[in-house]
């Protein structure tokens, strides 16, 4: 494909991401917001593909669309007030908000410009990215990987404990 095609497709996905994200925030129907998030997640996945991060893109779809979005939809469906939620658009705390905004944006831009190592040349990827991710996870980043695993396991056990059928309380009632 030519460069123009790539550019057109890139801006298409960027527009989908941004407009669906805007819709998530400004829609007055919670369920539409949740479904609109689907397009945001897909748009972000497509942007990852443009960065040659295909593994991350698919992981994004599995984790965010398959996991978080479905959980969110379930949660939304159990809420009482779905239609016509009042949007809170009041401007509160103008001065602290502005200070915080400028500080965070400035800090981020400063960090981006000074700390990050930008690729100044086009680098050809060697071989499969998946293998590199596997090797790095199991060698250099094995400690964070294990810590995240333990955290997730704890969350799983905690959730199972909370949702457990309470036998003792049931038998006390009788």
């Amino acid at each position: 494909m030519t460069n123009t095609t790539y550019t057109v497709i890139f801006y298409l996905f960027a527009a989908i991401t941004v407009f669906s994200a805007v819709f998530v925030v400004f829609s007055r129907n919670v369920i539409y917001s949740a479904f609109s998030l689907l397009f945001t997640f897909f748009g972000v996945a497509a942007l990852y593909v443009f960065l040659s991060a295909d593994f991350i893109a698919v992981t994004q779809i599995i984790v965010y669309v398959g996991g978080i979005l479905v959980l969110l939809l379930f949660g939304v469906m159990f809420t009482n007030k779905i239609m016509m939620t009042d949007l809170k658009t009041d401007v509160l705390n103008l001065v602290p908000g502005l200070v915080l905004l400028v500080a965070i944006t400035g800090g981020l831009i400063y960090t981006f410009l000074t700390r990050s190592e930008w690729f100044t040349t086009v680098e050809q990827l060697q071989g499969s990215v998946v293998e590199r991710i596997g090797f790095e996870t199991m060698s250099r980043y094995v400690l964070p990987f294990e810590m995240v695993s333990i955290l997730l396991l704890l969350a799983l056990i905690g959730a199972a404990f909370l949702a457990r059928f309470d036998n003792s309380a049931k038998s006390n009632e009788k």
Binding site: V58, I61, L73, S128, V130
Partner: protein, 372 residues
């Protein structure tokens, strides 16, 4: 997009064969500066789904179910009722497209669309033989099992948009079922990925190529491979809402589940999506465990059955036939086994399939590292 194909450890003969020759040639086809070839590549799986769903899916399933129950099935339209599907399509086209007054119009309309797109997107990485694949991603298998997530959202949109208790219950059951069974299915597929050491669909096929046909398939290469194979098959039945896991559309409880309110072509699209994902899971299990487009026939001395039945056209034949074989088993089970209850379904997933999938995972890993 074929960067993943050229792994550092890929064999010399892999490079020399004209892999993906047809789809590469098609992708370079331009008409008036527009990428016509890419459109054709996307259209081929679509036409395939439509043709197979109409012939084997609808007519075949009716006939097979009829023979299993000692009936004749459709016999009126045409000889042996072969034109029955055509009559069905005409009927579906004429049906009124009803949208409930109290339905959520937008979600009701996009629901079947999202569902079908989710089912169809997986076909992008499905190799129809050695010469044709939509996109030979190096994360092809991961993509194929992950994109199912979109179907889940489509089902929820359809169920919620219908504004009907049966539809909503059906959708919630269906989603709970698909999300739960993704876990044993993914672990079982991971066992296959460990055997191959890759996630690329074409690489999977190439690694199972060999002169002795079925002997090279992963199902017969590893003494524990039957366990993830069976786990994935059972889990794939649940993921496609097929019997005995069709509680989302249990007629006796929920009328028709999440598509209760759908009529006409929207109903047809939902069914097309279901047939699409049925073929997709069958193709995935064939590629991971049964060699995909490789011929199962062995070379016996000078009778080179394997060489005679290999090639681009034969490859397409084998992958489609393997897919159809598993779809036949899915139909067979539908008319044999009774439906599970919701609690039995969750019990099977979390207390039976998932532990066994972990056991299979460990055993396959031990075999691959220490024995092989």
């Amino acid at each position: 997009m074929n960067t993943g194909l050229l792994l550092p450890n890929s064999f010399p003969f892999v490079m020399s064969t004209s892999l993906n020759a047809w789809s590469d040639a098609l992708s370079d086809l331009y008409l008036l500066g527009l990428p016509l070839g890419l459109v054709i590549i996307a259209a081929i799986p679509l036409v395939f789904i439509a043709l197979y769903a109409l012939t084997y899916g609808v007519y075949g399933e009716r006939k097979i179910s009829a023979f299993m129950q000692d009936r004749l099935g459709p016999m009126e339209v045409g000889k042996w009722g072969i034109l029955q599907t055509l009559a069905d399509i005409l009927k579906l086209l004429q049906k009124e497209d009803i949208v409930n007054k109290s339905a959520d119009k937008f979600l009701f309309v996009i629901g079947p669309g999202v569902l079908f797109v989710g089912s169809f997107l997986a076909f992008a990485v499905l190799p129809f033989g050695p010469a044709f694949i939509g996109a030979d991603l190096n994360v092809g298998l991961f993509y194929a099992i992950g994109i199912v997530a979109l179907e889940v959202v489509g089902i929820l949109a359809a169920g919620w948009g219908s504004n009907n208790k049966w539809a909503l219950y059906g959708a919630i059951r269906s989603v709970a079922q698909i999300v739960s069974y993704e876990i044993p299915a993914a672990i079982a597929i991971l066992c296959g990925a460990m055997m191959a050491g890759t996630l690329s669909m074409q690489q999977f096929n190439l690694l199972q190529e060999g002169p002795y046909g079925f002997v090279h398939f992963y199902l017969f290469q590893n003494p524990i491979a039957w366990l993830p194979f069976i786990i994935y098959f059972i889990a794939s039945l649940a993921e496609t809402n097929r019997a005995p896991f069709d509680i989302p559309e249990a007629e006796s409880e929920l009328v028709a589940g999440y598509f209760t309110e759908y009529t006409g072509m929207k109903f047809a699209v939902i069914f097309l999506a279901e047939y699409g994902s049925m073929f997709m899971v069958s193709a995935i299990i064939s590629i991971v465990f049964l060699g995909g487009w490789n011929s199962p026939l062995p070379n016996i001395g000078s009778v080179a059955l394997n060489d005679w039945t290999s090639g681009p056209v034969w490859g397409a034949f084998w992958i489609i036939m393997k897919g159809f074989f598993f779809i036949f088993i899915q139909m067979w089970l539908r008319w044999t086994l009774p439906r599970l209850r919701v609690d039995q379904l969750m019990h099977l997933c979390w207390k039976v399939l998932t532990p066994f999938a972990f056991v299979a995972f460990v055993l396959v890993a031990v075999w691959e590292i220490y024995v092989k």
